[in-house]
């Protein structure tokens, strides 16, 4: 099983890449777009048209059952609900057309060649996928960092003559008139962002997905993270669609389902600055066709390369083995919708974390990611002049070796001298860094300072660069996170008792489990993994009762602690805000703007040193963690809907524990 057995990340053998743009640069795009396309199909597939598919959904036992149920509840006639269901399906369904695919194959070839140096795909992964598509219904699970992701996926699958997927897309795309329809014809189907209690919608939607999957009509593709990650950190997985695609297996309607995690890593993300602004509170522009064309100026820039890694297919059957007793589904007719039992929810949640983690592990990291981490640390250390290029190179080489020891999938060209690797990375990201007189620093000063800029505006424009830079540093966090939690735990505990360190580790891990991908219930495994990595890299000696730092381990520990530090401080400050400034009537909606104001004030006085805490992502995650821990409560119903009720004592003690002023508290530790 690909997602199990992380004991030694170094042992993980990864496939080689092949650049698919290379051929595009040498042969005709038109011929490529018009070439014969004959993908291998699922063995049990009886081909059917999109309209037959709709009929199957509308006549499914599940839907008919729910229509009757809704009719009884609301007193509406069944045929009225039936036509409502038809309308929902009409709005949702894809209309995959080969001609549209060919159109995209042609235009995307042109665009990709201008934007990117290369698009590298692991061919062995493609071969595995080709095999799997014929044997089992397949679910493709790409990471989500850019709008590009799903067009890119379909483009790659077309290139390799693989079955084109149907893709779950957010309704907001449909707002774009022509583009929305184009996407529909290239295999996207559209789902509303929220349809909480709408039984009918849910049934139409889940039946639609299941019927496509069970019949092997096409691989189903969706984003486990639910939305694009603006921070380049993987997002806590959403479970709705995973629940739906697991269902046919759990109920025995198919023998197995193959889940294929796909990791797409961009050397430069198209939406780089856009994301940073969004995180800082400049509202996200509504997706519109004209907006997309404005993005044309992007076309003149160089976005480096893309790496797409098709991971080892994970069998739903092997995930469930020994965990799920499938006979629990034998006691109710399968077409009657049932809320999944707690055991099933845990299983799906656990599987989702494993899958996201395997996405993370197969993300290719560029040297720049390491440089971004180092430059951010330098910047907050208050180094106004910047760092000497030679020093940066030395640090980068050190960090390269460390991350390799930690099993990072780092693409560092070893045949090129490190200084050249560093300088070419810096030049690709020249919008974020400035090199002058042999020194490098983040490009924080606006090139042409508009004369009348308030200190606040100045701070925000700095923050755009810092957050953009952080989004690269974030890509490497998953490699270090467990070790960083351990390093911070060691740092906060006076003494070397293993149990105490573990308690502190558990506390931090629990605190940050909305921020990073940390599988629920795996604290012991994570602790052991962190110990293992740090022992292997000669930073720690771990004994039965004690954890000791070696002499040469301090540099690594300092690096690891400082990589987590912005988050620690950010969470602390959120706590402080809640204790000091939160009013009785603070609502969830007002929370982010209010915290931002509070943070800006403290950043300007210099009390807060990390500009990146201005990220609304961090602020929301902190709130989510506090809600989860019960330190803050969200009131429901009535006039107080969404009001936050702060347990000041608890928030205060969490803040102090984070700051190392208080030892890890027993009640909290017990909850872990």
């Amino acid at each position: 099983n690909a997602t199990r057995g992380h004991r030694d990340p170094m042992l993980k053998k990864r496939d080689d890449f092949e650049d698919i743009l290379e051929e595009r640069r040498n042969t005709s795009d038109l011929r490529y777009a018009l070439r014969c396309y004959t993908p291998a199909l699922y063995k049990g597939l009886t081909p059917c048209t999109a309209s037959e598919l709709k009929t199957m959904v509308l006549q499914s036992d599940q839907l008919l059952y729910v229509i009757n149920q809704v009719s009884k509840e609301t007193g509406t006639a069944t045929d009225e609900i039936q036509s409502e269901a038809e309308a929902i399906l009409e709005e949702m369904a894809h209309r995959l057309q080969l001609s549209t695919i060919r159109f995209f194959a042609f235009t995307l070839s042109k665009i990709f060649k201008t934007l990117f140096r290369s698009i590298c795909v692991n061919e062995e992964g493609i071969q595995r996928l080709q095999q799997t598509i014929q044997e089992q219904p397949v679910v493709l699970l790409p990471s989500h960092r850019s709008y590009m992701d799903f067009l890119l996926m379909s483009y790659i699958l077309y290139t390799y003559d693989l079955a084109l997927p149907v893709i779950a897309a957010g309704m907001d795309f449909m707002g774009m008139k022509i583009v929305g329809e184009m996407l529909r014809m290239s295999g996207a189907f559209f789902i509303r962002r929220s349809f909480g209690g709408d039984k009918l919608y849910w049934t139409v939607f889940s039946e639609y997905v299941k019927i496509m999957l069970k019949n092997g009509f096409a691989p189903v593709e969706f984003f486990l993270e639910g939305t694009r990650s603006r921070t380049a950190k993987s997002l806590t997985p959403k479970l709705g669609l995973l629940n739906i695609v697991m269902d046919p297996f759990l109920k025995g309607e198919v023998f197995d389902i193959s889940l294929v995690p796909v990791s797409i890593s961009y050397e430069r993300i198209l939406e780089e600055a856009l994301y940073a602004r969004e995180l800082l509170g400049v509202p996200k522009p509504k997706e519109s066709t004209s907006g997309l064309f404005k993005a044309r100026k992007i076309l003149s820039e160089n976005y480096g390369s893309i790496h797409v890694y098709f991971g080892q297919p994970v069998s739903a059957r092997s995930l469930a083995e020994g965990r799920v007793d499938r006979s629990q589904f034998n006691l109710t007719p399968r077409h009657i919708p049932r809320k999944p039992s707690e055991g099933i929810q845990d299983f799906v949640n656990d599987s989702a974390f494993r899958l996201v983690r395997s996405q993370e592990e197969n993300m290719v990291l560029k040297p720049w990611v390491l440089l971004a981490a180092l430059l951010l640390q330098n910047q907050t250390a208050g180094n106004k002049l910047g760092v000497l290029v030679e020093d940066l190179t030395e640090q980068a080489v050190w960090l390269r070796d460390l991350s390799r020891q930690f099993g990072a999938f780092l693409h560092w060209p070893d045949h090129i001298p490190p200084s050249r690797v560093v300088s070419s990375s810096l030049s690709l990201h020249r919008s974020l860094v400035r090199v002058s007189e042999g020194r490098v620093q983040l490009n924080l000063e606006p090139g042409f300072p508009p004369p009348a800029m308030t200190p606040e505006e100045e701070l925000l424009s700095k923050a755009v660069v810092v957050l953009s830079c952080a989004s690269y540093r974030n890509q490497v966090l998953h490699v270090f996170i467990r070790a960083a939690l351990l390093a911070s735990a060691i740092h906060s505990v006076a003494g070397s008792r293993k149990q105490e360190i573990f308690n502190a580790f558990s506390f931090l891990r629990n605190m940050f489990s909305n921020e990073f991908i940390l599988r629920p219930g795996a604290e012991v495994q994570d602790f052991e993994e962190a110990c293992y990595l740090l022992v292997k890299s000669a930073v720690l000696q771990v004994h039965q009762q004690e954890v000791l730092v070696t002499d040469r381990g301090h540099r690594t520990l300092a690096f690891l602690t400082s990589i987590l530090d912005p988050f620690v401080q950010g969470y602390q400050m959120v706590c402080r805000f809640l204790c000091e400034e939160a009013t009785e009537s603070l609502t969830e909606k007002q929370f982010v703007p209010a915290v931002r104001k509070f943070f800006i004030k403290h950043l300007l006085t210099g009390e807060l040193k990390y500009v990146e805490v201005l990220s609304s992502d961090l602020q929301k995650n902190a709130l989510a963690a506090l809600l989860r821990l019960g330190a803050v409560q969200k009131l429901r119903g009535g006039a107080n809907e969404g009001t936050l009720k702060v347990n000041t004592v608890m928030v205060n003690s969490l803040e102090d524990t984070l700051g190392g002023k208080l030892p890890t508290q027993k009640p909290l530790a017990a909850r872990l």
């Binding site: 025995g252 023998f255 007793d325 499938r326 006979s327 034998n330 399968r334």
Partner: protein, 494 residues
Amino acid sequence: MKWNGWGYSDSRFLFNKKGQAEFTGKRYRLSGMIIPGLKDWMEGTFGANLQHKTQPVLNTSAVQPPMLNEAFVEELKSTGIPFSHEADDRVFRAHGHCLHEIFALRDGKIGRVPDMVVWPNCHNDVVKIVELACKHNVCLIPYGGGTSVSSALECPPEETRSIVSLDTSQMNRILWIDEKNLTAHVESGIVGQDLERLLNESGYCTGHEPDSMEFSSLGGWVATRASGMKKNIYGNIEDLVVHIKMVTPRGVIEKSCQGPRMSTGPDIHHFILGSEGLLTAIIKILYLRDHEKYSESLIDMQKLYHGLSSIFTSFLDGLKKFYITKFKGFDPNRLCVATLLFEGAREKVLQHEKQVYDIAAKFGGLAAGEDNGQRGYMLTFVIAYLRDLGMDYYVIGESFETSVPWDRVLDICRNVKARIIRECKDKGVQFPPLSTCRVTQTYDAGACVYFYFAFNYRGLSDPVHVYEQVEHAAREEILANGGSLSHHHGGTTS
């Protein structure tokens, strides 16, 4: 009777000097016939090769000397009940027909066997034997037809007491027939075919026809809660039995009347039916019916029965075969054959036939005629011999059955077959296994599905263990897909 294989000694499949498959003997309609498709099927399905033949080892000398309880033997002698401690008699009654049992016998491995065999002649003999066994601390294992597939005849190897096999074969009489109530009083040792033949002579039948009815006994049916092929008309064994007399170590159990039904708390019969031979001799009374007729139809659905169906087509005579395969466009490898037996009064049979043929026609099926039906029905008895042929050529296999709600029938078939194939691959089986199934019984709320599973074990060091692991996985899959652990017998048979 064979001592290390299925059925009559004179009846077996073999490949003759010309390399053609042949069924020997004179007992069955198939006997003496050449079966042209079988060789290709064996080779194609299992990768079996006629050059690679296993040789069963026959050495009865490996049997351990009997461990006799002298006091028991002495007292038994005084009752005049016949008994034996000859090696042959003991080995013959030491096994049923589980794969591991037959495989070990062919391999010349003989484990713990009964120390003695006794042949009671009537109910009172059984009462005496049980009394003596209790008195002298001797184990009794009842033996009927020896067709058990749930290891019920296996002697526990760690057993230190003397084991006595209680063979009921001499208790094989119909004691009386009551024409007013349509019941008969029958001794438990009677074998299915004798019971049916004797009843037919008086113009009656029970209609209970399990695949093993040539050899299995009435007592065994009760002990295993058996089902028969004609159960849709006549019912399963629990529907046929009106009264049971059972000898236990604490006395004889029986109801005080022969009324067809009573509602006085839980039915004592339900503790006896399906007790898997843990209880002793049984004598009973059965419902009786009359009359019969065959017919058959072909329905082209999916390749549920693929493989065996090609053997089926090889029986079809030339013109008919041409008609079905060429004119009607049936692919012999994707052909689905349903053997249907219509039985009862003439009008009823005609009405049933019409209903069924109308359904078949709706799905493009056609009736293949009574002759083929007869063959198909006979095949179910002969299939059991196939396993021995397979074992001659490194192929081992079994069948097992389940009962499952209708809406899950197709899912369970697909998943269990796929699981078997996957497990075989994982366990290192070198050749693709046979993994197929058919529906054998229908109920209002579901159906009984038979799975056939066999593989070529060349290259495996412990084939029986592999077999058991795969079978275990298949069973697990059945349970996960909403099937029952068994429909009529625990796990396996041919």
